[in-house]
């Protein structure tokens, strides 16, 4: 019974929901509450926590069936005991499930969300992301390799979450500004996101190089399925960087210039009074942020596939 694609799909959902939750929570910490989107984001975060828990449960069920090669193993208490209590990855998953349940309860208990308590969301979802290192390729190494692999994985997912997860609140801020909301807050959010995004790119690159070095023996491995998926991931990442650079160096600069000086100082006005050029720049930014979102989803899917493939055959 081969469950490769179902496992990749569930892994993708799990990774994406945690990355989005982490980045969106962190955005509230460094960029302030998302203008116009606080309540909606609070609700989305409850959904994300629910998806993370459901996909986590689904993932271990699929893993059990895949390992035992019997669907009936789902009904076997002894199989579950062996899986969850007698294996290293099972014990990690057990702890992760408890943490995922706590994350959902925490998110749901606040309803619309309270920005001043989002540090806890960021901390818990970040810890859940990093803990995936213990149940993947990085955790299979030994000694210094294992430490380097897990450290690199942790940096990689946290940096990716900071960037990709931050796109969600940024989209709300852009939509709010398009509708005539607070442009100054948008500009502050864009500036902070952009600065942190550059650090995230550097960290993603550095940790990605360390992981690739640990997982592959040489350039010949780029010919394996793992290597080809990794090449696809690098190509998508390059496109993402190009779009982010265009946002930072073209659209954001134009926005500032057209607004007069520095961060946009236009107070909230009715839409008819907003200069058309500024509206056009915000529309362009919204489109490129949406494109980043779509490419980010593709990148996470490739990351999920990489986790399911053997680095070296």
């Amino acid at each position: 019974m081969e469950l490769f694609w179902p496992l990749v799909a569930v892994r993708w959902l799990h990774l994406w929901s945690l990355l989005a939750l982490f980045g969106a929570s962190l955005f509230a910490v460094y960029g302030g509450p998302s203008p116009g989107g606080e309540e909606a984001l609070g609700k989305i975060k409850v959904w994300l926590a629910g998806i993370a828990l459901a996909s986590g449960v689904g993932f271990i069920m699929l893993m059990l069936v895949d390992m035992a090669e019997e669907v009936t193993s789902l009904l076997s208490a002894s199989r579950w005991r062996a899986f969850l209590l007698a294996t290293g990855f099972g014990r990690v998953w057990l702890l992760r499930l408890v943490a995922l349940g706590a994350l959902l309860l925490w998110a749901a208990s606040r309803g619309g969300g309270r920005p001043n308590r989002w540090h806890a969301d960021a901390g818990l979802s970040g810890a859940l992301l990093v803990s995936l290192a213990w149940v993947g390729h990085a955790g299979a190494g030994e000694g210094a390799d294992a430490f380097a692999g897990m450290f690199a994985y942790g940096c990689h997912v946290l940096a990716a979450g900071t960037w990709l997860g931050g796109l969600l609140p940024l989209s709300f801020a852009l939509a709010n500004a398009r509708a005539g909301g607070d442009r100054e807050r948008l500009c502050v959010a864009l500036e902070r996101f952009s600065r942190l995004g550059q650090a995230a790119v550097a960290l993603i690159l550095a940790s990605g190089i360390v992981s690739a070095g640990l997982n592959m023996q040489g350039f010949a491995d780029f010919g394996t399925p793992y290597g080809r998926v990794l090449l696809g991931k690098i190509a998508l990442f390059a496109v993402l960087i190009a779009i982010a650079a265009a946002n930072r160096w073209i659209f954001l600069r134009r926005l500032r210039r057209q607004a007069g000086h520095g961060p946009i100082q236009i107070p909230a006005q009715i839409q008819a009074q907003i200069p058309a050029q500024i509206r056009a720049q915000i529309r362009a930014l919204s489109r490129t942020v949406a494109a980043e979102h779509v490419i980010g989803l593709g990148l996470v899917a490739l990351a999920a596939a990489l986790s399911s493939l053997a680095p070296v055959d």
Binding site: A86, T87, A140, E142, P311, V312
Partner: protein
């Protein structure tokens, strides 16, 4: 611009290669006792599989069947307490002369499944 891209690529290649050399992979069967394809004068009392990295014995599996496809009585495969890369199946009874097939399925520490099979013979 092209030169700069070339330099960046060379730097990337250097960095990747400088970390490369101890690749993490799914585990592989390193050796077995009886060895694959072996013909034995004495029937073995156990099947022992050695992998190149640690495995999770509690969710791993070994079974033995005769040439006719009949399962050979045995307990559950277990870890070797002194070697976490080994999986051992103790046979309930001595094997009769004939050909046997060993099917194995192991789960490595990174949760991945690896499986395979091999045959051996016991001489009359």
């Amino acid at each position: 611009m092209i030169r700069q891209c070339g330099r960046a690529g060379a730097l990337l290649a250097f960095l990747v290669l400088s970390f490369a050399g101890s690749a993490q992979a799914h585990t592989h069967l390193k050796k077995s006792s009886p060895a694959a394809g072996a013909t034995l004068a004495n029937a073995p009392s156990e099947i022992r599989l050695q992998f190149h990295e640690a495995i999770e014995a509690s969710v791993s599996h070994i079974s033995v069947e005769t040439n006719a496809g009949q399962a050979v009585a045995a307990g559950a495969a277990a870890a070797d307490p002194s070697d976490k890369t080994a999986l051992v199946l103790r046979l309930a009874e001595p094997l009769q002369a004939g050909a046997y097939k060993v099917n194995w399925r192991v789960i490595s520490a990174d949760t991945h499944k690896v499986k395979g099979s091999f045959t051996f013979q016991v001489r009359p």
